[in-house]
């Protein structure tokens, strides 16, 4: 099972796409005048020639409305361009022992930096408790700033970045993404449209769909948050539990913040997103705290990256497990530190448990063994998160901190 990942520019005439003999489908990203307007996945026959008629039918259904939308947005921009000086930007990449992927990401960054709307962009690589020098070497090759964070854990590394960032705006990237060519312009546009926002999140598309697990993950929703800009504030009448359901805001692999704000909030919680055994919840926590501080978060689809999804079903199952675990650890933490939101937090736990059981029940009824195991993974992760994982993590990071000081 393998899908071709392709991109079409709809302002050009459609051209047929010939799948390779081992490809069984296509993941199609569409642009209109360079603006991303849609993504969809279509199952095809092995090695099929996807003709113009088929592509047109796909576009009618999935992309045509986005074109109308993009046209109005473009006209509004032409009519009254949002200009003004942009803040200085630090792009922070937290990585550990993955120099090859880091190089791939830096390649994509160098390309977008060449045409940067930001006057000042620096790239900061935080090497998290490395076991060799390959990351340092990779950073040096691209002229990126380099810091070593000896305390192992993603949020330790993110804090190291925030402490060392020169930019007034800091954009975090995970090492398993590459940036879309519109990434910097998307972030600039998002900032100009909401200069007072505390943070920004962006679209996450798949980097490749070469394995069953990668295709499944994307089909089950992936990191997708859609192609419409959204703005989040500290409460919403359309989402009763907001901002506790911070997951809808975006994903940690592609998020940016007002540097001063995050510093004033005390940085990231290093007991969340620690890597194993609690590799999640950190992005939820920081987005939640930004919103609770009274600043808004903006989701901007043009600020897009491509993420290399988990390769195997076992890894994917583990990812769902970390979602449950991270979500509940975040809720336990918020319950403790933000009592004003407790009614929403407990309502979220109730809703989440109900929703998970519903998914589990549906999978059981359908006798889909794999869905049952995915649902169970997320559910059991959540239960573990509820049962003291945050406290265990606090003790673990205290040990790590002590060992380094």
């Amino acid at each position: 099972m393998k899908y071709r990942l392709a991109e079409i520019e709809l302002s050009n005439p459609l051209e047929p796409i010939r799948l390779e003999p081992d490809e069984t489908g296509i993941g199609l990203a569409a642009r209109w005048n360079d603006r991303l307007v849609g993504f969809c996945m279509v199952e095809c026959a092995l090695g099929e020639l996807i003709g113009i008629d088929r592509l047109r039918a796909i576009a009618d259904e999935h992309f045509a409305f986005g074109i109308l939308n993009a046209k109005v947005a473009a006209e509004l921009d032409t009519h009254a361009p949002l200009a003004g000086p942009l803040p200085s930007l630090t792009v922070a990449i937290c990585t550990k022992d993955r120099a090859v992927r880091l190089g791939r990401l830096l390649d994509s960054l160098v390309a977008v930096k060449a045409n940067s709307p930001f006057a000042h962009v620096d790239i900061l690589v935080v090497d998290n408790a490395p076991s060799d020098e390959t990351t340092r070497e990779a950073a040096a090759r691209y002229g990126a700033d380099y810091y070593r964070e000896p305390k192992v854990g993603l949020n330790f590394a993110r804090n190291s970045a925030i402490n060392n960032a020169r930019g007034a705006l800091i954009a975090y990237l995970d090492d398993d993404v590459v940036v879309d060519r519109g990434w910097l312009h998307g972030l600039a546009a998002a900032w100009r449209a909401a200069p007072g926002a505390g943070g920004f999140t962006g679209l996450v598309l798949p980097f490749r769909l070469d394995t069953e697990a990668q295709i499944l993950f994307e089909e089950r929703g992936g990191f997708g948050r859609g192609f419409l800009r959204r703005e989040f504030r500290s409460s919403s009448l359309r989402m009763p539990l907001h901002p506790v359901g911070a997951g809808i805001i975006g994903a940690g692999c592609n998020m940016a913040f007002d540097t001063a704000l995050v510093r004033s909030l005390g940085g990231f919680d290093d007991a969340l997103d620690t890597g194993a055994p609690l590799p999640g919840g950190g992005d939820l926590d920081i987005c939640y705290r930004v919103l609770r501080s009274g600043r808004s978060m903006v989701y901007e689809p043009q600020y897009a990256v491509r993420h290399e999804h988990r390769e195997t079903i076992a890894q994917l199952r583990r990812q769902y497990w970390t979602w449950g675990l991270g979500m509940m650890a975040f809720l336990v933490k918020s319950w403790r530190h933000d009592p004003a939101c407790r009614p929403k937090q407990s309502a979220m736990v109730r809703w989440w448990v109900g929703d998970q059981l519903k998914a589990l029940g549906k999978a059981i009824v359908a006798r889909e063994a794999r869905d049952i195991r995915f649902a169970w993974a997320e559910f059991s992760g959540g239960i573990q998160g509820l049962l003291g994982e945050y406290d265990r993590s606090l003790r673990r990071v205290a040990t790590i901190r002590n060992a380094q000081s």
Binding site: A64, F65, A194, L237, R238, P240, D355
Partner: protein, 454 residues
């Protein structure tokens, strides 16, 4: 990560602002009489492009003021929606589905070719200047002189003055007479027989204009209302027209609950044709004619009444409770006609402000709804109407009760007993002696008057 399904309801019980936003660059929406709002409150936001209504959703106090980025992204989505709903090149006019909504479609080819989105939007938002002298506006009123006075004032400010304004006073004491005196172009009629349908029919008999529009005494029409009604009739063959009813204010728990939990008088911002396909789609389980609109903002070609008769005097406020409007639409559809919904024709409704008033209104709505279903079943033999009475409505009560429990929508839950009581009261019409055979002679007797007593 997912989040619970969004709802239209916020924390109950608090007053909300109704805020109007003009999404044209650099514009603010000003509607006379709507300036007052209090800072720090949740709001129901209504979005416009000039005079073209685009959409509506609630915003929390924390979400205000709206930044420029948010305004632009809303403008883009709403504009795309309006274009696909209104541009003939994209398939307009669109046909209503069974739930009254339209399916917005566009094709790659059409989307690529279309140009000048803002110009098109400007042109579409261009206020109608259609001559409304062939339009008679009828207002049926009963003991609400102050509200009626506001309504008449708003009508006197119409960009296209109607040919005639007729106030039909259904009160015992003729309390509306003094309000109407001295107002040019306003005709006063007294209808002593109690019941909204009697009053409506008296008004219809009194006018001879090509179009007849109805609004209520607790309504303030938008200054372009009459002009938009006439413009809409010019582009459709439909016999009946309905328009958008926006809440004037949401100052009390009852008003907020009616709008946010009960859906108010609808919130569709795209035009829709309610024709035979709509009727056929749900006829077997009771055509959902109440989706077509509201009696507070409806109009008819006068010839319609010649063809299918007047309002059924067994139905409506003062009789069974309501639904004389939707029964008329049912008759139009069942006899091969069509209705058209055009949200550009806007009125503002002042919702009932007291909770007991809302409760009895909801009870009357349900009783009237059941009575109309019985009448529709009797007249046309459409048993689907009874399916709705005996199967769908009980199911709806259960589902709503469960939903309001699960989602903590207490106010919604508190209205269910009133609905059930209304339903039970409506059921008594099934067995009331003489009622079901009592279709009033009034209906087909356009010329006559006063001979239609039971």
């Amino acid at each position: 990560m997912k989040d619970p399904a969004p709802t239209d309801a916020g924390a109950p019980g608090e007053a909300m602002n109704v805020l109007h936003f003009d999404l044209r660059p650099g514009q603010e929406k000003v509607i006379a009489g709507h300036e007052a709002s209090s800072a720090g409150r949740d709001a129901l936001a209504v979005f416009w492009w000039g005079d073209l209504p685009l959409g509506m959703f609630p915003l929390s106090a924390a979400e205000l003021p709206l930044g420029e980025g948010w305004r632009r992204s809303l403008a883009a989505s709403f504009a795309a929606e309006q274009r696909s709903a209104r541009d003939p090149a994209l398939g307009a006019p669109l046909t209503a589905r069974s739930d009254g909504t339209v399916r917005l479609t566009t094709s790659l080819e059409a989307s690529v070719q279309i140009e000048g989105m803002m110009d098109w939007l400007e042109a579409t938002a261009n206020p109608s200047d259609a001559d409304a002298r062939q339009l008679a506006v009828l207002i049926c009123t009963r003991d609400r002189p102050a509200a009626l006075s506001d309504c008449l004032t708003a009508l006197s400010l119409q960009r296209s003055p109607p040919g005639e304004i007729v106030v039909i006073d259904n009160s015992a004491t003729q309390s509306a007479r003094s309000v109407c005196e001295g107002r040019p172009g306003v005709t006063y009629l007294h209808e002593p027989r109690s019941g909204l349908s009697h009053a409506r029919n008296t008004g219809i008999r009194a006018v001879s204009h090509e179009f007849v529009a109805f609004t209520d005494d607790d309504v303030t029409p938008h200054p372009g209302w009459t002009a938009e009604v006439v413009r809409a009739f010019a582009v459709t063959d439909a016999e009946a027209l309905t328009g958008l009813v926006l809440p004037m204010k949401l100052e009390t728990r009852a008003q907020r609950c009616f709008q946010m939990d009960m859906g108010g008088f609808g919130s569709r911002f795209t035009p829709a044709l309610f024709g035979q396909s709509f009727f056929a789609a749900t006829r077997h389980r009771g055509a959902q004619v109440w989706r077509i609109g509201a009696g507070a903002n409806m109009a008819f070609r006068r010839s319609t009444f010649d063809r299918i008769g007047l309002f059924d005097t067994r139905l409506g406020a003062g009789a069974s409770g309501c639904s004389e409007d939707s029964e008329m639409w049912y008759r139009i559809l069942a006899s091969g006609g069509a209705c058209y919904y055009e949200p550009r024709a806007v009125v503002f409704h002042d919702h009932r402000s007291d909770w007991p008033g809302l409760r009895s209104q909801i009870r009357a709505y349900m009783r009237g709804h059941v009575s109309a279903l019985i009448v529709q079943s009797d007249t046309f033999g459409d048993r689907g109407n009874l399916k709705r009475v005996f199967l769908q409505l009980p199911r709806y009560f259960l589902r709503t009760a469960l939903g309001s429990l699960l989602n903590g929508r207490k106010d919604r839950g508190r209205l269910i007993p009133a609905e059930v009581a209304g339903w039970l009261a409506g059921l008594t019409y099934m067995v009331r002696p003489g009622w079901r055979s009592g279709r009033q002679s009034d209906q087909r007797d356009l010329a006559g008057g006063g001979s239609d007593d039971r």
